[in-house]
């Protein structure tokens, strides 16, 4: 089935998917979902309306939108968990309603919740078995993934004692257990601290580097901006914008310069050069660090102290 050695896709081949595959990773056509309202059959909640989407293999696609805009519903329909009212969805050319379309897909639901009574290790073993893994191969894979998400030390603990961020991590490990070609993540960084969410970002970039298609939903725009090749913006179930991130957000006629150690004279010289040309200086300000960077630096120091105790 997977005869194409996808790991040979090089980072240079970029977002468009280096090796052209016959069918896109995800194809969504005229997808509509209307949830019935009990006792009011005529009135339904339109969660998704006439959605068309095409995600090529190897892309990182971000589905953005405010709360209740239909992101989760769309992802669930793509995975065949919710049946569409109209329209169809395909994964690698196979209809989402077929069970085998899920063979090469890993899914992290929003606010994942697993069996509390299982330990992290048992959880991964369970999901691995569902994907047809077993024996030494499964064991090796479990160790690898626990290591990857940083839960090796908590592997024997029951999930009932895990924190929210740890649950998110085990959810991510579970989604990757069978080395899927498409990973669907519903708000992967919800409830994860800044360091953790940066690690998840790195992980997603790593998946991308290995040629794995990632479809994620988020309403954290800054984060999506960092990792997505393409984004779609949903509002009330309608796809209002869609395209390559760079093109969507670039302001064509503006350029930013960030200068370190510039003397006041240099700055005024640059300004006068600009004034003499027909360009226009729009803004001039001191660079600031981001709150995120500040937070990360501060907590990193903390950790070093506790470790040296």
């Amino acid at each position: 089935m997977t005869d194409s050695p996808r790991r040979l896709v090089t980072p240079e081949s970029g977002g468009g998917g280096g090796r052209a595959e016959a069918s896109p990773a995800v194809a969504v056509q005229r997808l509509t979902k209307i949830f019935p309202v009990p006792l009011h059959p005529a009135r339904g909640i339109v969660a998704v309306k006439d959605l068309n989407l095409r995600i090529e293999a190897g892309e990182v696609f971000g589905l953005l939108g405010p709360n209740g805009s239909g992101k989760s519903t769309t992802l669930k329909m793509i995975l065949g968990l919710v049946s569409p009212t109209r329209g169809r969805t395909e994964i690698f050319g196979r209809d989402s309603r077929l069970v085998e379309s899920r063979e090469a897909v890993g899914f992290l639901p929003e606010n994942p919740y697993f069996y509390k009574y299982l330990s992290g290790e048992e959880t991964l073993r369970f999901f691995g078995r569902l994907c047809g893994l077993r024996g030494a191969r499964l064991k090796e894979r479990i160790n690898e993934l626990l290591e990857l998400v940083g839960l090796t030390r908590a592997r024997k603990r029951r999930l009932g004692t895990y924190s929210k961020g740890m649950l998110q991590r085990i959810g991510l490990a579970q989604a990757l257990i069978h080395d899927p070609r498409l990973v669907v993540l519903d708000e992967p960084t919800a409830g994860v601290d800044p360091a953790g969410s940066r690690e998840i970002r790195d992980l997603i970039l790593d998946l991308k580097r290995r040629g794995i298609t990632v479809l994620l939903s988020s309403h954290l725009l800054a984060q999506a901006q960092e990792i997505c090749d393409r984004v779609g913006i949903l509002a009330d179930g309608v796809l209002v914008r869609e395209g390559h991130l760079r093109e969507l957000i670039a302001i064509e006629n503006q350029t930013e310069l960030v200068i370190a150690d510039a003397s006041p004279q240099l700055v005024s010289e640059i300004e006068s050069v600009i004034n003499r040309s027909n360009a226009k200086l729009i803004e001039r300000r001191k660079s600031t660090t981001t709150l995120e960077r500040l937070f990360l630096e501060a907590t990193k120091n903390d950790k070093r102290m506790t470790k040296s105790e």
Binding site: S83, E103, Y117, C131, G132, R137, E144, G150, G196, R210
Partner: protein, 319 residues
């Protein structure tokens, strides 16, 4: 101070290389039906129920057994064995039924509520296999419970039998050997009755039927309480309906309409009294092989049918 490093994703630089050993991972062809997937769900269900400590029910059974044997010391041995069998088999029947209903009622609704079902069905797992795995997990739990309770019961019965034999031997020192042999035979025959074993199998099948029916009810119930209440209701109706039917047929002519009505009632409320062979067994009536096979097949038929109905409803269910 213990620092759990839950905030350090280690992406080893060797990850790509190591992962490449899994290139063949997905080459295993997808199978539309997989015993190992079902087994994974079955064992998981069994683990869940075990860790929820449903087996505590068995402790209650043990206490009941001990309690009743203390109470019985005052009776003759025939009465004692009779009561012991009556109480134990009755308790096995009630406890397995109760376990079947309570353990099954929350299985699917809990998974749906916690959204664990999303994670499972997002894997290449057909919904039918999921339902099948869940029910076999319960059936396995019921089998273990039935075995444990039966073993405890038989052990107590054996111990009491030995005690009575010893007492009799002591009393009859010097009696003629034929008389002694007669007395011992009498004790043995009133203790263990070989018909007990098919009786226990039928009790198990009744519990299986109830579990499958509970699973079916839980696929459209809105709350667990609803499922349990409905099942308790069905349990009593199921036990009473045979009597009611006889009464009804005596009063009314058995026209077509009546028969159809009774058939529908029998489908919704299985005749549980038919699974109550142990009463006869304890009373000393031997059950025929034909009756045993007929009842067993009825149990298997009902269990299969309710499981299929549950799978069918679950298949079309919006999760």
């Amino acid at each position: 101070m213990v620092v759990i490093p839950d905030s350090c994703f280690v992406i080893p630089s060797s990850f790509d290389i190591r992962a490449s050993s899994f290139i063949g991972l997905m080459e295993t062809r997808y199978r539309a039906f997989s015993i190992s997937r079902i087994l994974a769900i079955t064992l998981n269900t069994l683990t869940e129920l075990t860790r929820l400590r449903v087996f505590y029910v068995l402790l209650v059974f043990a206490l009941l057994l001990i309690g009743s044997s203390i109470f019985m010391a005052q009776f003759s041995f025939q009465q004692e064995f009779q009561i012991l069998k009556d109480v134990s088999l009755g308790a096995i029947s009630i406890f397995t039924s109760l376990l079947a209903i309570v353990a099954t009622a929350r299985l699917l609704p809990q998974d749906i509520e916690d959204r664990t079902v999303y994670t499972i069905l997002a894997k290449p797992v057909p919904r039918f296999e999921y339902v099948l795995g869940k029910i076999t997990g319960v059936l396995l739990l019921l089998a273990i419970s039935t075995l444990v309770m039966s073993a405890a019961f038989l052990a107590v019965l054996y111990l009491r039998e030995q005690a009575v034999i010893h007492a009799t031997l002591r009393q009859m020192v010097g009696a003629p050997p034929e008389q002694l042999a007669d007395a011992l035979r009498e004790i043995r025959s009133s203790a263990l009755n070989i018909d007990i074993f098919p009786g226990i199998i039928i009790i198990y099948l009744k519990a299986c039927l109830l579990a499958a029916l509970t699973l079916f009810v839980s696929t459209f119930a809105t709350t667990n309480i609803f499922t349990i209440v409905v099942m308790v209701f069905i349990y009593f109706i199921g036990h009473l309906q045979a009597t009611a039917r006889e009464y009804w047929l005596q009063e009314h002519s058995s026209g077509l309409l009546t028969r159809v009505f009774l058939a529908i009632v029998a489908l919704l409320f299985p005749d549980l009294q038919a699974f109550n062979l142990v009463d006869d067994i304890v009373a000393g009536t031997a059950i025929s092989l034909a009756l045993f096979i007929k009842t067993a097949l009825l149990g298997i038929f009902y269990t299969t049918m309710y499981t299929l109905l549950a799978a069918f409803v679950f298949y079309g269910k919006e999760l």
